[in-house]
Symmetry: C2
Subunit: 348 residues, 2 copies
């Protein structure tokens, strides 16, 4: 067949339109980082930020240890990895309710988590355990006090120790345990591994702001240029950190925050850095609908005040079935690619 320029131009236009349409609706299927290559690090390790000394006479209730002494409580554990050829900014990963930094590691079904993937993407990664949880010591002084009869039972901290039946709905695996939403992307076949990630959460007994907030401020000042990436219950922390005047916060990425700052009043402090509020699927029919609406109002207020808040749902990106635990969903690395793309475009 002879080459026909007009016919070719028409076909090319149709082809380009089809490609554009596909790009707009298709999920990203190729990761931007080779997950099979070796992970090459300049350094890794851990340290603690914050904390306060506490003298007590109800430390131990065992005969082999002294009940008297000084412990440190409310410190924040930070585990970090610096890639061999690191770029700025760094990312601080802040887990949510009833969980620890394990949130960002291997997924329950054994796939790569965001912590390693972000390091492979070239970012220094700092994974924290919130004060009082995981490798950040819980304050057990009142337990010894109550057990030894020196304090009343209501001196014990109020715990948020969440059963899987409650978590199921909260994390939007489905409308009610054990029913799953159709097309839901959390790897339910490995749910036993996920339940083992859950720990007792004393955050609601630790005052406001949570001691994790000033520790995040210290960490950000030390890192100089960092993105605070929160999840769920920790969603308010980066905003509180920013409002406290901490230096070094380059942006905030809030994955399904439980709360945002109030949309009324002075929101000017939140105009200082770009903000991404990221949501999954099934929001409308869940307890997250009013939280989403409140954060949407906050975003509108900050944007009207000259700030830059993007509110994005994974469904806007052509992805479907994402849960509250999207960092562990089957398409977790595609969502990670979206986040690093957003950081690349917005943090300079």
């Amino acid at each position: 067949m002879r080459f026909n320029p007009k016919r070719w131009a028409r076909a090319a236009t149709r082809c380009a339109a089809a490609l554009l349409a596909c790009a707009a609706i298709a999920p990203a299927v190729a990761h931007q980082v080779d997950t099979n290559a070796p992970l090459t690090l300049k350094d890794e390790g851990s340290f603690f930020v914050g904390g306060r000394d506490l003298a007590s006479d109800t430390l131990s209730t065992l005969p082999q240890a002294d009940p008297n002494g000084t412990v440190t409580v409310e410190q924040m554990y930070v585990q970090y990895q610096i890639p061999a050829h690191a770029k700025a900014p760094s990312l601080v990963l802040i887990h949510g309710c009833c969980l620890t930094g394990a949130t960002w590691e291997t997924t329950p079904d054994g796939r790569m988590g965001w912590a390693q993937y972000f390091a492979r993407s070239g970012y220094p990664v700092y994974v924290i355990d919130q004060a009082g949880r995981g490798r950040s010591a819980a304050n057990a002084v009142s337990i010894g006090g109550v057990r030894s009869g020196r304090l009343p039972p209501d001196a014990l901290p109020a715990g948020f120790f969440v059963g899987r039946e409650f978590a199921w709905t909260l994390f939007r695996f489905g409308p009610k345990y054990p029913q799953a939403y159709p097309g839901m992307q959390f790897p339910l076949e490995a749910q036993q591994q996920f339940w083992k990630q859950m720990v007792p959460d004393w955050a609601y007994s630790m005052g406001t702001p949570n001691p994790t907030v000033p520790s995040l401020g210290q960490l950000a000042a030390r890192l100089k240029k960092t993105v605070l990436v929160s999840h769920s219950q920790s969603g308010i922390y980066p905003f509180q950190t920013l409002a406290s005047g901490a230096s070094g916060v380059a942006a905030i990425v809030a994955v399904e925050p439980t709360a945002c700052p109030a949309a009324t009043g002075d929101v000017s402090v939140y105009t200082r850095v770009p903000v991404l509020l990221l949501y999954g699927d099934f929001i409308a029919q869940s307890a997250w609908a009013p939280r989403y609406a409140a954060c949407r109002s906050f975003a509108d207020a900050v944007n009207q005040a000259g700030g830059h808040v993007d509110v994005v749902s994974t469904t806007d990106l052509g992805m479907h079935g994402n849960t509250h635990m999207m960092m562990q969903d089957r398409n977790n690395l595609e969502i990670a690619d979206f986040i690093t793309g957003w950081v690349g475009r917005n943090v300079h």
Copy 2:
């Protein structure tokens, strides 16, 4: 000067003797691994082993969560790194009393810990948090029960929450807080970071054997050929794991175990794998003297039964001033080199 063969031979003999003498007493000053090169990993991540489901009606004492539900308790968190060119065996690092897996990471004064150093030495490294501590969930059911008045105060777990004054002597920084032993090698200038590593320890309320023991058995079976490296309070766990019939245990390295199995009775099960019991300095004048003597007797009994237990003090290696926290002492990497050398010679 003319070459004189006899004179040369005499000088060479003197020189060789001097070198041998130096080698026998001098601490190893050069590390066997380049700590400045990039750390190149094939993979890293985490998973959980063991645990049991527990239904409770005293989970949460907060209005926003259901007190009823099912949680998982007694699981063991495992964080691993596989070097790009890994060799066998793997090493499982098991922290001691009142601490978590952070024990093996960066030292309090910011130097490289054993976990990274062993990975750089080519070994797959598995760092665990004992059941009930760190990222391994504590069982908080009784706290909710007592706080809500449904259980008596003595239903609370007996905690081993150790103050720094007690820990100071236990860890042999000195005879009594805040006096240090002369020449002591722990980086006391960074002690605040170390106190922040300490967490409440519920191990003594968890029954015998501790749930960590069967989990170590599962882990060893999965790893097929691994060295269980214990510290202090966890010292008895690898022996209990071996005695339980677990497969995959290639050797045991016990860093200052609090207890060894009894020297009397049948010790034949402990003849199956090579064992290293490793001690620091200042043992004689400390609470570790009777523990050392008991483990020495155990070693003698196993060796008489045809086993292979090496009892080594860092002072035997020409090192001085080592504490109970020798993995964080100033010469920690020289001790690590001794351990990898011992593993190389004894695990085939």
